[in-house]
Amino acid sequence: MKFYKVKVEEREELGTYTLLHYRWSQELVEPGQFVMARAAGYPATLDPFLARPFSFYDYDGKMASLLFEVRGRGTALLDLAPTIEVTAPLGKGFRIDPELGRAALLGGGIGVAPLKILGRHLDAMGVSHDVFLGFADAGSSVVARDFPGAEVATMDGSAGTCGTVLDAATGLEAYGAVYSCGPNPMLAAVKLAAGEKSLCQLSVEERMGCGNGSCNGCVVPVRGGGYVRSCVDGPVFPAEALAW
């Protein structure tokens, strides 16, 4: 896998999350696509060995941004690095169909990341939408200020509605399109709540080895049996394709 060294142009602390901005020049990044990223220094460092997958938080044709939370050594080093290494955009993103009518965007925790770029693309295409964001607590919900008008829920009730993102998002069946990213149990609940009339697309969060389809590590079970790779066949899937 080819990595590109890029300078971190700006680092924003958003509560317990960090938002990194770096220069990137490419015509298009589909909302929902991701990169593998790590602190620069490889292969001199060798460890942590693997890069980590991150959805594009945003990309305007010049600057790309990644949202993450420090959870282990890989993200701890990423949080400190003045220079990082990223791959070209990977995976399949969200399909946008303006004919479907009003859209609902639901993010859980760090899974809010791809909803920023998705929301901008929907705006550009004239698709009206509502945003619902769920977090563990007020500390992790700070990023919600970047989503004006979004409904917020926290599990401990320290900000917004007390409960899950679905407690803040009622009447999902009424939307023509539902887009969601978050932990798998949340996505399964969103799929159920969205019903079968709307186009429901889910961006899964999986542990990844390579990001280019080679290691078969990041699989999700699909309806009809077997597994598909979330890095090349996803990470965005039509809800009905998934077994859960």
Binding site: M1, K2, F3, Y42, P43, L46, D47, P48, F49, L50, A51, G74, E206, R207, M208, G209, C210, G211, N212, G213, S214, C215, N216, G217, C218, V219, V220, P221, G225, G226, Y227, V232
Partner: protein, 310 residues
Amino acid sequence: MVVREHETGVDLAVELCGLTLRTPLIPASGTLAKEALGEVEGVYGAMLPKTTTPEARAGNPPPRVAETPAGMVNSIGLQNPGVENFLQDLDAFDLGVPIFVSVAGDTVAEFGWLCEILAGDDRISAVELNLSCPNVECGGLAFCAGPASVEEVVAACRAAVPGKPILAKLTNEGVVENARAAESAGADGLTVMNTIPALTIDARAQKVLVRGGLSGPAIKPVALRAVYDVSGVLNVPVIGSGGVVSGTDVAEFMLAGASAVQVGTASFVRDPQEILDEFTAYLKENSSGAAELTGALRGVRPVLAGGEDI
């Protein structure tokens, strides 16, 4: 920077089982998907797609991978579409270099059956036997768990595919004895070594995260020792594999006795072209061709195969 042979005058070619490989690098089985082929043109001396089995396998439920210090543990479960679909898709791996095919079966008969099918396919230059998979006729012990089962499965494959080189891929445990058994049963070469059995635990959730095989730079010294010991006592060529991430690593494996070197997990985290470029630069600095490195350290000190010599 891309270093090409015609620019550097460095001879990267090696001979392996009667085949000429334009570089000594080969992808390790299960680490290079069709989707990633665009990145590796010109890097490898042979192609080696993911292991194929008689029938399709869904593979193991996730989680399948976990990062570990300087490496990773994987438990994929040989997910693959089965040999029939595999062969329909094989042309995608034609990058103008020999294609090696890795096979695995549940039984000796399945190994033999697969080899028979591959024997008649002109696109395939060599067959690698993945002997780390469980032998269901021996209570699930791996085929390479001991020399008797190695000999039995290699002999069956030898008979089934008389016209192509077969390479026995072995794990570290008992590697010298198993290598002897493979050679005496007719293997043309050995791939040393497969991943090392390993486990990761999630202490917060108090559960096993991944029980599988360890790969990456963490296992390189183990693999080097295995290659050194095996190539010191056997005549068949050895393909080194285990933890290669740089051009210097490639050189180390060849100095230890390998005729070619597999790049596996490293291709997840590096552009394999960079590894070849580094290896080319190493050869240039040392005024050497690739093939001259093989076994250059042989006889420098006695090899006490299998012993715990220090």
